[in-house]
Symmetry: none
Subunit: 192 residues, 4 copies
Amino acid sequence: MQKKELKRQRLLDAAYDLFQKKGAASTTIDDIVKQAKVAKGTFYLYFHDKKSILDSLVFNICHKVFRDACQNMDDHRADNLADNVIHVVDHIIEYFKCDPLTLSVVCRNFGWKPVLEIELQNSDDLFLKHILLALKNSPEMKDRTESAVINLVYVLMEMVGSVCYAAIIEHEPDNIDNMKPVLYEVIRKSLS
Amino acid sequence: MQKKELKRQRLLDAAYDLFQKKGAASTTIDDIVKQAKVAKGTFYLYFHDKKSILDSLVFNICHKVFRDACQNMDDHRADNLADNVIHVVDHIIEYFKCDPLTLSVVCRNFGWKPVLEIELQNSDDLFLKHILLALKNSPEMKDRTESAVINLVYVLMEMVGSVCYAAIIEHEPDNIDNMKPVLYEVIRKSLS
Amino acid sequence: MQKKELKRQRLLDAAYDLFQKKGAASTTIDDIVKQAKVAKGTFYLYFHDKKSILDSLVFNICHKVFRDACQNMDDHRADNLADNVIHVVDHIIEYFKCDPLTLSVVCRNFGWKPVLEIELQNSDDLFLKHILLALKNSPEMKDRTESAVINLVYVLMEMVGSVCYAAIIEHEPDNIDNMKPVLYEVIRKSLS
Amino acid sequence: MQKKELKRQRLLDAAYDLFQKKGAASTTIDDIVKQAKVAKGTFYLYFHDKKSILDSLVFNICHKVFRDACQNMDDHRADNLADNVIHVVDHIIEYFKCDPLTLSVVCRNFGWKPVLEIELQNSDDLFLKHILLALKNSPEMKDRTESAVINLVYVLMEMVGSVCYAAIIEHEPDNIDNMKPVLYEVIRKSLS
DNA sequence: GATGAATGAGTCTTCATTCAT
DNA sequence: GATGAATGAAGACTCATTCAT
């Protein structure tokens, strides 16, 4: 039976729910196990501490959002490089715009690097690979090293993530819809 | 006498020192007042809580770094808009590169918005105003609203801050010197 | 005001009472502060942990019992060395025989060495000094070094303490009154 | 097959090893079963609780050390009673001096009484019986009851055990080699 | 204004023991 | 007999905040 994995999932679900409602800092292990209807000790069978379950959660969220975005863009491929990237970014922004609580769980705890790395290791032909391939093969990028391309993606992603969080959660410096044109302009210019 | 202000400063200094050494989370009010040689209750005469002293500290740091950067750039004005902005950014990066502990205090707690706002209210003719003026008056920006220009600066600053932190503190995805060309290219293209 | 010292004493008293009733291992900090009518944090203002309050308690008990025994013997001095030592030992045994709970607190946690050392440092002319002086000056001991004499006292004290505990608390191998002649015979022979 | 007895032994061996390395208090059942490569529940098939396995261990150690000492002395019999006893005691002390970790497992948890009792019940003509017989038949002891003789042995053993532990483990009040003459003098005088 | 003793709710963590498989 | 996942009571300890002096 997968009872074991099921308990782990119950804990993740409970933590996700509580982190959304009360924030990770104000959520106690007690809260989590109570909501998961699991004994306290059980928590420590699956996670080392609170940070560990938060990391798992954040990774899962980012992974899922990123995959969905790439998938979706794969279905609506444009011939223009920048448009494709913006499509992905827009999908991510829209997701978090509609679900700001999940964004508040991810908070600022996350770097895209781990997701990128995992994605790149996977053998399935995910769009992320296409993007990097496209980036590298596009006329403007063709004489860059792979790591230079990855760093460029990373920088743009950090920008998007950071502005996303500030605009959606803290409403700084403006609402996200007003920030979008600015972001997309920077992306468009950077990839041309 | 400014005895009062002096105590406040002692508390700020102690907190700054301890936040650098141990991190804000692991520093207790006890640690701070002990190092500041002040009674525990006194802390609450000057700051509402721990978050409040951290905010003060972060604001002071960012303010200072930003002013220095602008001042320094004011002394080496280039006629090119992008070069001037990159000059400021480079100054900030170099500062934190040499003093990563201070960066670790600022952590991810900060947005540039408050600093911008304070700066813009001040009546002294700091370069920041010049930059915004220059931005608005530059051929490429001349048909943008002021808030659009501020948002562009904000987006680029968030990008710089976020990458700065990741590269210097977490060594992700590469060391800061290798990230600089990427950042500067994005800035240069965005401001042209 | 000695409010501070008073709280410390309330904690010691409560711990002493509970250690007697339930044993040190089964007594929690919670129990202690509850009985002392003191907040939990207050405990940690005065003692580092549970072991620390137990050590204080044990030291106080041993110190008191030892002083009383010496004092009492000082009032009934015999001209015979062995008789004087046995007088002290008997006083200690009788004390613990009448108050076995206190002995159970002391348990096996104690060595006489610390008490001896403290006593020897004090300048008041306690009988312990007389004993050691008498021991050293007695014909049989006169050609021993001071440390050799102390070691002999130590060995006999360990024997008494150990047998005392076993006989009174664990009723092994016989009741204490039947063990007394054996102990005294060993002491008498050792000091002759 | 003795598979059963073998598991019990594996548990004992693991516990012995861990108690030596980390102390009994800091060793968990988890540690023990993990090292014994046995499931956690299995532990409770062989021992009632942690105290129970420690008791078994301590008994085994004391039993073995005592038997070896008696055996060895049996091979080097002296005609003098005290010398024989001291021979046994010295063997025990030397054993623990060379293997203080084992002594630290025995700790202060032990009384010699159980070992004595088991030994006396066994029908094989171990030296312990000879000693007691010799003690009882020696001129000085001949008019004592058997229990009086046993109590004397017990008292001396407690003294040796207690001083042994203090000197070897806690280095109090002196190293064991300096304590030996004191112990042997007391024994010698007590048995004359 | 300044003090620092006192508070006590809150948190994480451990671990002996059980029991369904 | 053997397993090991699950339990949850129990425990130690922290620390921001208050308030009488």
